[in-house]
């Protein structure tokens, strides 16, 4: 059974069957990654361009590894979004890539909607590797796969996204994907970081981190941006970590065995204390490994569509 869509732009509107197919395929590739020779010839002769307009070493490396392990030819293109805000350069770049007759484009960009824009101007399959504060579907899929791997299911689970929801592409994709798979999603963070009308997506809003710990099976803790612009949304790092940071004491106090996830990179001592980041409840490094498998699955499913 193939995927319904030839692009992966986001998880909004993606069917349960398609997500299930991706997660099942991920399992196969997860096994490949345990072999001594972690390479399969599946995408031999296919060309993938990794188009990164925003710095994200982790996501790029994860995609590159996935592409190599599927034997695809891959090319990297990196540019800062600011250097292409003139527009002409951006469109020229896209036209150039189109002219190279590539099969798939993995795109990361600081502006929301860029992957949609690409589908209108080039023929390749587009994979969204994060667009602004919109979606980051591969991250959400690897989060979902990791939860399922650890807890055996998604349906009926309660998952809370913690932190700056308003400026997170990871949160939105997780909300769409998990809700489709039958999990109950909540968000927890300072009210200034919770976007308006998020409840209309079927999400509960919690402002008390202890309540979030008690009520949920999984905490997916997001990275807090520390640069000046983001800092306008909360008084101080100290106050943030005191009221929303996850510490061992807090987990003990609530006496709860809860799964801790983080998309990385972690600000230790801010959203997660070091002891929690390295503790028994977390699966942060498994997430990284699963990230490669999920991306292999997506590249495989889209690359072999026709």
């Amino acid at each position: 059974m193939p995927l319904t869509n030839r692009h992966l732009l986001g998880l909004q509107g993606i069917s349960k069957e398609d997500i299930q197919l991706i997660l099942d395929t991920t399992k196969t590739f997860r096994e490949v990654l345990e072999r001594p020779i972690k390479k399969v010839p599946t995408l031999q002769g296919k060309t993938v361009v990794n188009l990164f307009f925003e710095n994200s070493t982790r996501t790029r490396i994860s995609f590159e590894l996935a592409e190599r392990r599927l034997s695809a030819d891959s090319v990297n293109f990196s540019a800062s979004a600011s250097s292409v805000t003139k527009g002409e350069t951006f469109k020229d770049t896209i036209r150039n890539i189109e002219a190279m007759k590539v099969d798939m484009v993995v795109v990361r960009h600081s502006a929301a909607g860029t992957p949609q824009f690409l589908t209108r101007v080039c023929d390749a399959s587009i994979i969204n590797a994060g667009d602004g504060i919109h979606e980051h579907p591969t991250q959400a899929l690897l989060d979902m796969y990791s939860i399922k791997e650890k807890l055996g299911k998604l349906e009926g689970l309660k998952v809370c996204m913690v932190g700056d929801i308003a400026h997170s592409r990871v949160a939105l994709s997780n909300i769409y994907g998990l809700t489709t798979m039958g999990a109950k999603v909540s968000v927890c963070g300072p009210s200034t970081m919770i976007p308006r009308y998020i409840e209309e997506l079927g999400v509960d809003v919690i402002y008390d981190i202890d309540e979030a710990i008690q009520e949920n099976d999984v905490l997916n803790v997001l990275r807090i941006q520390l640069e000046r612009k983001a800092r306008e949304y909360f008084p101080s790092i100290r106050e943030y970590s005191k009221y929303f940071g996850i510490t061992e004491e807090r987990l003990e106090k609530n006496g709860k065995d809860i799964l801790i996830m983080h998309p990385g990179p972690i600000n230790r001592g801010v959203e997660l204390s070091s002891s929690v980041a390295d503790g028994l409840n977390q699966i942060i490094l498994q997430q990284v490994t699963n990230g490669v498998a999920v991306r292999m699955a997506i590249l495989y499913l889209l690359g072999t569509l026709n």
Binding site: A81, A111, G113, G132
Partner: protein, 431 residues
């Protein structure tokens, strides 16, 4: 040359005229006769137009146009903007001062006037309210008034502070000229679309409706306090319409305009990330559109204006967040107003004419064309029945940034007459 317009319906709410199936003769650019025709009338060199079923109305007037000259002549010039206006059915327009340099001196005013002098379309000019539209010092308003400006605005942004707004209103009140406000609180500005569920789902930086409401409230209070005249440009929120309605009741000298996109589209349109749906103020919600329609019906909103904002394709065909705000509207505006307001029986034809020909001129103290023998002929000819499809390749504007391309509309302008010239079926000729 003598022009005979035969069997046409005459509608001019400015004079409470509503005549059907009459004839109009124009000689030397002036109306020479209205009524039945004699054999005498057909003598001499003449051009006849059978306008059975069509309407002759006072020339339409768009009080919110960005002509981009001086500064961005690649996007629009005074002449291309006027051609666009004529093709869209307008005989007059007022252009906004956010050019480069801004229209804050008599020199820039006379430059634009010179460019427009020979065109069929009358170009009126809105001067900057503050020097360079920077919100620090009031512009030379007396000098601007003397050179012919008909209002003041820092459009693109609101007048920066309450203190300078107070002085602008006080000073402009000496000349009874309106202050036209782009209502947006600068500290809440910068978003790419209306704040709401859609901005959350699309991951686009939000621009809250309260940014508009705050400045509308400030401006209404200040207009009341100074007894100055305030005109709310491109009103877009429910709350702002309610505030203006209330202020009008209590006697504040306020008028308001709305654009065709704000009474037809909502932020749902942004879902495709098409930058032709990016403008400022942004497209709002269904509730806002409904209240705007109420405001058009009950007269809270005085007029319809396009906020015609040409942008080059290179600038507009980029990531949504990076694209400039604004769309063109001169050549779709009448069709949209007729389709969405007149055909749907929200407004009568008289009301449409009021909002697109009569009221904009009254706000700017410009005489409204009169249908009397001896008066200059300043007309728009409307066909309210023609069904047509917008094709931006037919636009006379230099730019193409319209969200209404390929839209099916019912009703359009067939031509215009003004300044002893006629534009009909795509051609200009002297009359």
């Amino acid at each position: 040359m003598k022009i005979i317009l035969r069997n046409v319906n005459l509608v001019n709410p400015g004079q409470k005229i509503n005549l059907s199936g009459t004839n109009v003769i124009i000689e030397g650019g002036k109306i020479s006769k209205i009524g039945s025709l004699d054999p005498e009338d057909f003598k001499g060199e003449k051009k006849e137009f059978d306008l059975t079923g069509k309407y002759l109305v006072p020339g339409f007037f768009d009080m919110h146009v960005h002509l981009r000259e001086p500064g961005r002549e690649d996007e629009e010039t005074v002449i291309s903007g006027c051609n666009s206006a004529a093709n869209g059915g307008f005989t007059g327009l007022a252009c906004m001062p956010n050019t480069e340099p801004a229209i804050d001196s008599a020199e820039v005013v006379s430059l634009i006037k010179k460019q427009a002098a020979d065109h069929l379309v009358n170009v009126f000019i809105i001067g900057a309210a503050t020097l360079g539209r920077k919100g620090e010092f009031i512009s030379p308003m007396a000098e601007l008034k003397e050179s012919g400006v008909v209002g003041f605005s820092d459009d693109g942004v609101a007048i920066k502070t309450a203190a300078i707004l107070k002085r602008v209103l006080e000073y402009s009140a000496m000349y009874n000229l309106p202050v036209i406000e782009h209502c947006e609180d600068e500290t809440l500005a910068g978003g790419a679309m209306n704040e709401g569920l859609n901005s959350t789902m699309l991951g686009l930086p939000p621009l809250p409706s309260v940014a508009e409401d705050l400045i509308v409230a400030r401006d209404l209070l200040m207009a009341e306090y100074t007894n100055g005249r305030i005109h709310i440009a491109h009103i877009s929120t429910k709350k702002s319409v309610e505030l203006v309605r209330q202020a009008k009741k209590s006697g504040v000298k306020v008028t308001a305009e709305v654009t065709p996109h704000h009474f037809t589209l909502t932020d749902d349109s942004v879902k495709t990330y098409d930058t032709n749906y990016k403008m400022n103020p942004p497209l709002r919600t269904k509730a806002d559109v409904e209240e705007i329609i109420n405001g058009l019906k009950d007269g809270t909103i005085d007029c319809i204006a396009s906020d015609h904002a040409p942008h080059s394709a290179e600038e507009k065909e980029v990531e949504f967040e990076f694209a400039p705000n604004g769309i063109i509207g001169l050549e779709t505006q009448i069709g949209i107003a007729l389709t969405e307001l007149y055909q749907k029986k929200i407004l009568s034809l008289e009301q449409v004419v009021e909002k697109m020909a009569v009221n904009p001129r009254r706000i700017l103290n410009i005489p409204v064309p009169k249908f009397n023998p001896g008066e200059p002929a300043d007309f728009t000819i409307l066909d309210t029945d023609e069904v047509w499809t917008v094709d931006f390749n037919q636009f006379k504007s230099k730019s193409r940034n319209s969200p209404f391309n390929k839209k099916l509309l019912k009703g359009r302008a067939l031509g215009v007459i003004n300044k002893s010239r006629m534009y009909f079926m795509g051609e200009y000729f002297d009359i």
